[in-house]
């Protein structure tokens, strides 16, 4: 089975989140008073080519694993997120 990289992108803590603000205001007016704040982010899945992924799981090929990790980090940083306002976390399963 091929694996995937799950990338969560959220706005940096200090950056204004207009979406979260609007959702919060509707939640409040709908009576959900236990919610203190809302932040809206993005969730992206990358499906990894199984051949490379096989190489990755064979432990003796550490290079391939590092290379793939690096690549996903690079994709997250350069393509998927905007480092000026967003940060991301990667989970590979």
């Amino acid at each position: 089975m091929s694996k995937k990289a799950m990338i969560k992108i959220t706005l940096k803590e200090e950056v204004l989140d207009p979406q979260g603000k609007a959702v919060l205001s509707v939640l409040k007016s709908s009576g959900y008073n236990n919610i203190k704040d809302v932040r809206v982010g993005k969730y992206i899945e990358l499906f990894i080519d199984s051949e490379i992924e096989n190489q990755r799981s064979s432990k003796d090929d550490k290079n391939a694993k590092n290379k793939l990790d690096k690549e996903i980090k690079e994709i997250s940083e350069k393509v998927l997120s905007n480092p000026l306002i967003e940060e991301f976390s990667i989970t590979i399963k």
Partner: protein
């Protein structure tokens, strides 16, 4: 005064002040400033807030006129539109933020200029913009174009303000410095104008809108890292625009204004609360108390100077009568917005800050506000010595002009901007009579009762533009041409130019050659605006559009060409009389109204064909221009012509071609016979910014037109007829209209969609 502490010496640099300015501040205070004071002074004495390098020149611009109610100095300029209505407009740059983060930079630029307009009591009714990007071959250009356009649409569309026009220009000189100039016009009642200068002693000072966060405080944060490195890791962030909140702020402000609950108001733009509080105090001749504890904060534990310098968007500062606060609060509460008392207007010319329930600082208003004014050294640039009148015989004129014609019409600077403006909502508001893509945007204004469909509809016309290459080649002419060209576009629709706003985009004023370009361009604007009776009633200056970079091992500075951009407003008594530039019917006769000089200096033709556009561009005769524009208005008002187009980039060929293929209902063509003594075909067809119009009229109307032109000293030359689907000029050009249309419409899409690859 001697400068003691070394740390502080570094501090003023981080805040962007010069040593002289630091000394001056110390002198004014009688001691060295502390960090809070330094922050305040640096913001108010910045180029952006103080206009310290440009003030002496801006003062020379004409600002008064028959229709002008308020000129420069307030948030925007105001002109009288008759029947108790006023139009309020301004253009502003957001260049640097848009280069750093093009989507948010462009979005907040649009948000900022709209706030300037509704601060004054006007409902924004139209946006325009002038965008400059690097060469379309630059790999980063598609990204900038698509993000900037998305950002402008995101903000304007959500606000419900139509974006009805603008320009998109590509030039290598903007590779490292894109320009985003945004224009907004609003409408208000003459007795419903709100100013920042009306605070009265005893008024409550009120903060409304979004909470304050760490947005856009570059200088301040860098400095604060310096003096408090433990607490403040890099907390400054890119400003994020929230058009939804701004829409609420707009409605809340207009509702409060309608109920006369606001005495004085100022939006928080650059330098946020600092500039709004000091300017409101200064302009009304009073002072304020400001309680820093009262500010709604998005980021906890902000320091006083961080609060003062935050550039969080969608906020306003206002003064209201004490007894009105509760009613005011109720309105902002209805719209779900903060509305907080932060101080009081006082009788002394000072601002008294409180923090943590204790007196914190006192600053003298006029000391802070009256920043320096420089008469910086200037020097005629060396490169201008090489700009000589063109010797056309030195260049080989290409045999195949068809090929050249095709390249011109598909050049991204000429080609249809449809892929851009369809991303903007231009039909909202139900006022757009002439949409983007033609000479000028035309909007009607709704009267009291429009059920009577035949009633006259007064309207106004909008246009923005400027040509930086012509300004580079002749800064004086470039400044004048920007004004003249806007007026031409408005005249070609039948409108009367009334007033202008300007965005002056230049490189560093500390470079004497740039300063010379600036002074010349302003002189050109001054002369043209004076002659055309279009006073400059608002505007903005953006310096430092340059980037240090390395070319190989050699450090160089990439500077933009001087880019004065003009935004012009014109009136038309009856929008039903508006003329559009495109041909209407086969068989109509085509005329050239005006005169041709055939000067190719600076033209796109010279650039594309001979890779050399650096020759002296043609001069514009302002007296002749006025006659010509009056003449075309007379013909339009008399209902005598069916289309009118001016001759700008790409020359007569492009004017004729565009007229054939931009009719929304059909494709047309033309058969033209054009021989001008002593001019080659290339000069006739491709020379730009000629003092002439291409007009059409139904057949057999030459005599009638000549009679109408009568006393005007303007030539009318019949040059051909509107035909079905072929573009034909003498024996030099023969093209199929549908092929040309296809290239014209798809060219820009190719540039933009490259961003997704």
């Amino acid at each position: 005064m001697a400068i003691k502490a070394k740390v502080k010496k570094e501090n003023y640099k981080l805040f962007g002040l010069s040593l002289d300015e630091y000394k001056k501040i110390s002198e004014l205070l009688g001691r060295e400033p502390d960090d809070f004071e330094l922050g305040i002074f640096s913001a108010m004495w910045s180029e952006h807030c103080s206009y310290k390098s440009s003030k002496v020149y801006l003062k020379t611009l004409p600002v008064a006129g028959d229709n002008v109610i308020i000129g420069p100095g307030e948030n925007a300029g105001v002109v009288d539109f008759g029947d108790g209505d006023v139009l309020i407009f301004k253009m502003e740059s957001h260049n640097h933020p848009s280069f750093i983060e093009p989507f948010q930079g462009a979005a907040t630029g649009v948000g900022g200029i709209m706030r300037d307009i509704f601060t004054m009591g006007a409902r924004p009714i139209a946006n325009l913009n002038s965008l400059r990007f690097g060469s379309c071959f630059n790999p980063k250009t598609p990204y900038y174009v698509s993000e900037v356009v998305k950002g402008i649409g995101f903000y304007g569309n959500c606000m419900g303000v139509p974006t009805v026009g603008g320009e998109v220009v590509f030039d290598e000189c903007y590779n490292d410095n894109i320009l985003v100039n945004a224009f907004t016009i609003g409408i208000a009642k003459k007795d419903g104008i709100f100013l920042s200068s009306k605070c009265e002693v005893g008024n409550v000072v009120v903060y409304v809108g979004s909470a304050t966060g760490m947005d856009g405080m570059h200088g301040a944060t860098m400095a604060s890292e310096e003096f408090d490195s433990k607490k403040n890791k890099k907390r400054s962030t890119v400003q994020v625009g929230d058009p939804f909140t701004e829409k609420l702020l707009l409605e809340a402000c207009l509702e409060a204004m309608d109920k006369k609950l606001i005495v004085s108001i100022q939006d928080m733009g650059a330098a946020g609360i600092t500039s709004s509080s000091f300017e409101m105090a200064d302009k009304s001749g009073h002072g304020m108390t400001i309680n820093l504890d009262a500010f709604p904060l998005r980021t906890p534990n902000m320091t006083p100077i961080e609060i003062m310098l935050s550039e969080s968007q969608e906020r306003m500062l206002l003064a209201c009568k004490k007894e009105d606060f509760e009613s005011l609060n109720a309105i902002f509460d209805k719209w779900g917005l903060n509305c907080v008392k932060v101080g009081e207007v006082i009788d002394e010319n000072i601002i008294r800050f409180n923090h943590h329930s204790k007196p914190y600082k006192i600053l003298d208003v006029s000391t802070v506000v009256n920043g320096p004014a420089y008469n910086r050294p200037k020097r005629k640039p060396k490169y201008l010595q090489k700009i000589l009148p063109i010797k056309i015989n030195d260049y080989r004129i290409p045999k195949n002009l068809n090929e050249i014609a095709k390249r011109l019409i598909t050049h991204p600077n000429i080609a249809s901007k449809r892929p851009v403006f369809t991303q903007y909502d231009y039909t909202i508001g139900t006022n757009t009579v002439v949409p983007p893509g033609f000479s000028a945007a035309v909007l009607r204004v709704k009267g009291e009762n429009k059920a009577d469909k035949d009633s006259k509809n007064k309207g106004f016309l909008l246009n923005v533009g400027g040509n930086s290459r012509y300004t580079y080649l002749n800064p004086y002419m470039g400044g004048a041409l920007a004004v003249v060209e806007c007026a031409r576009n408005i005249a070609a629709c039948g409108g009367n130019p009334v007033a202008v706003t300007d965005c002056l985009n230049f490189a560093s004023p500390e470079d004497p050659e740039v300063m010379w370009q600036f002074s010349e361009a302003v002189k050109g604007i001054k002369d043209a605006a004076t002659k055309l009776k279009t006073p400059v009633i608002s505007g903005n200056v953006s310096f430092y559009n340059e980037t240090a970079k390395k070319e190989g091992d050699k450090p160089t500075i990439s500077k933009i060409y001087p880019t004065p951009v003009i935004g012009m407003v014109g009136f038309i008594e009856d929008v039903n009389k508006t003329v559009t530039p495109y041909f209407k019917d086969e068989g109509d006769e085509i005329f050239l109204l005006g005169r041709l000089k055939g000067d190719l200096g600076g033209s796109l033709y010279m650039d594309l064909v001979h890779k050399d556009f650096c020759q002296k561009p043609a001069d514009t005769d302002l007296d002749y221009e006025i006659t010509l524009q009056n003449c075309i208005r007379l013909l339009i008002n008399g209902g005598m012509i069916k289309s009118a187009a001016d001759i700008s980039e790409g020359g007569i060929f492009v004017a004729l071609a565009e007229s054939s293929i931009t009719n929304p209902n059909k494709i047309l063509g033309f058969t033209v016979d054009l021989n001008i003594k002593e001019l080659s075909y290339a000069e006739v067809l491709f020379s730009e910014f000629e003092q002439a119009f291409i007009i059409t009229s139904k057949s057999h109307s030459e005599q009638k037109l000549l009679k109408a032109i009568g006393d005007f000293n303007v030539n009318l030359l019949k040059i051909g007829v509107v035909s079905k689907d072929i573009m034909k000029i003498n024996n030099t050009i023969e093209l199929k209209s549908d092929i040309i249309k296809n290239g014209y419409e798809s060219s820009l899409e190719t540039v933009i969609s490259a961003a997704h690859i």
